[in-house]
Symmetry: C2
């Protein structure tokens, strides 16, 4: 069917976005709803189904070819969300089956970083690329690896946990229970931890002191943009740790490009310049000056929906 | 053609092995020749062609469907060997073209670790696996990554340089010019460096002292097998560094199995037991107790030829 459509759903910790997409990646209709506020996951599914039916009615329900969902800790193979610390439901949620039963449409799910990688490959900066990596920099650090034009799911659907490679042996405590994970340094949370630690340890004058306990990544970015050297140094430090980690990534999958996505990537060159320098400094000679570092070109609000929707084709 | 055959060639630093293989992985005829001893690479190609023609004549040259070659630093995409420190020829060697012109057969080349991965997938421990890693432990450390049933070559053909991820920041000097590369610790050379450093730094009584400057990996293995605690500790230390690095690998590609290949893997459980313990200690929860660690099941002398040959199908 040439005019077939898919429904893309991005489930986040606080909000869920829905959009109906055509083959060219145009979002025909879209809406958002809260993820939270339901007693159980069934209440959420019920509200999601109501929202989806309303959208599908507007475009013609008979045109719907399927549903793609991106969600934290979602497993492509099992169709389940497993122990997602940032979602309101505990344990293992058979998300694909619940949505399929509610909407009577084919449903495919994957984690949000993989959905972003598929979005970039289908509609974004990675069109035509067969080997690239998407790194999502938000509250945590996620990743989606594409090799030979296919997403690497791994044998169990859990590949791409770049946020949990060890960046600093015996380093910062991570929510996963281990120490030194990359995302404890490189993420919105990681930026804030660095700021807090440095403010305690150092005497340096910085405009960040006036925020006291309300330092957020966006504040560090704002002050760095305004020229605060302490804030700039935080990005330099974060970029060094990310650049070193990416040099190791390149030695494993040798991607054509690494594409950054999500809130922290909005820092642009403040982050990208040190990342590039430290990555290049740490690359094996055969990889030098070949790997493109890019910020996602997809419009921010749409990217997650587009990625999830592209999954359904 | 159902009775088609391929020629598998494994080019090593000192010797080159050739074998003619059928679809089931049976080696019908085989031979070896020195890699060294020629003034230029053309002398080597000439000798190789003579050897190959002799073998092909024995099975019927009209049955030959192609040639697969595994060699250090060989690039699948370009057909070239590039700056191989362990081969007698400098610079860039257009190996695939030279052999194709000499034998008038289709030629495919890849690096030796990738050839091993293809060998394992076609005839060895990885039959039926879609996601696994082969780690070759010889003079250096090589790797071949398979995801979705396909070898990861990367955009430029240089993926899988696991020997050059940084295991110890600012660690041992590597031949590649950087510091702390995994293969400076985990390889035959790495084992010997550890032994030499420890013999200088420590007063411990050990049977390794009697070898003075002639310590080789095989000697460390022999003495560890005989119960020498100093030699056992070298394997424990090496296994720790490898196990930590593999935990990071698992977080990226989530393989079903990691298969060890090559001389040092002959140490078996002396190495595998500490590798497994330290890998498991460092794995994110979702990966624990799922990744199989295996020693290659392919007969040693044949594996490289089989892998190279399988490449040609």
């Amino acid at each position: 069917m040439t005019d077939a459509l898919v429904l893309g759903i991005d489930i986040g910790g606080t909000g869920t976005a829905l959009g109906i997409i055509d083959r060219r990646g145009r979002i025909l209709v879209q809406s958002t709803m809260p993820t939270t506020g339901h007693a159980t996951v069934y209440g959420f599914i019920d509200a999601l189904a109501k929202e989806a039916e309303m959208l599908m009615k507007q475009v013609g329900r008979e045109r719907m070819a399927g549903v793609g969902i991106g969600a934290p800790n979602a497993n492509f193979f099992t169709g389940e969300i497993m122990y997602a610390p940032n979602l309101p439901w505990d344990g293992v949620i058979p998300l694909a089956r619940l949505v399929k039963d509610a909407l009577r449409l084919k449903v495919v799910i994957t984690n949000d970083a993989n959905a972003a990688a598929i979005g970039e490959m289908t509609y974004g900066a990675a069109i035509g690329m067969k080997d690239f990596v998407v790194v999502t920099l938000g509250t945590g650090l996620g990743s989606g690896f594409v090799a030979n034009g296919q997403l690497i799911y791994g044998h169990d659907g859990f590949a791409g946990e770049l946020g949990h490679v060890i960046a600093v042996r015996d380093g910062r405590k991570c929510a996963c229970g281990r120490n030194g994970c990359l995302e404890t340094y490189v993420s919105a949370t990681g930026l804030v931890r660095t700021a807090q630690l440095w403010l305690e340890d150092r005497e340096t004058e910085t405009s960040l002191r006036k925020y006291e306990d309300n330092i957020r990544a966006s504040v560090i970015f704002k002050e760095a943009e305004a020229g605060d050297q302490f804030a700039i140094d935080i990005f330099e430090y974060t970029g060094k740790i990310l650049g070193q980690a990416l040099a190791d990534v390149v030695a494993i999958t040798s991607p054509q490009a690494i594409i950054f996505f999500g809130g922290v990537s909005k820092a642009g060159n403040l982050l990208l310049t040190p990342v590039r320098r430290h990555m290049e400094d740490n690359l094996l000679r055969i990889y030098k000056n070949k790997v493109e570092l890019q910020i996602s070109a997809l419009p921010d609000a749409d990217a997650a929906i587009l990625g999830a929707g592209a999954l359904a084709w």
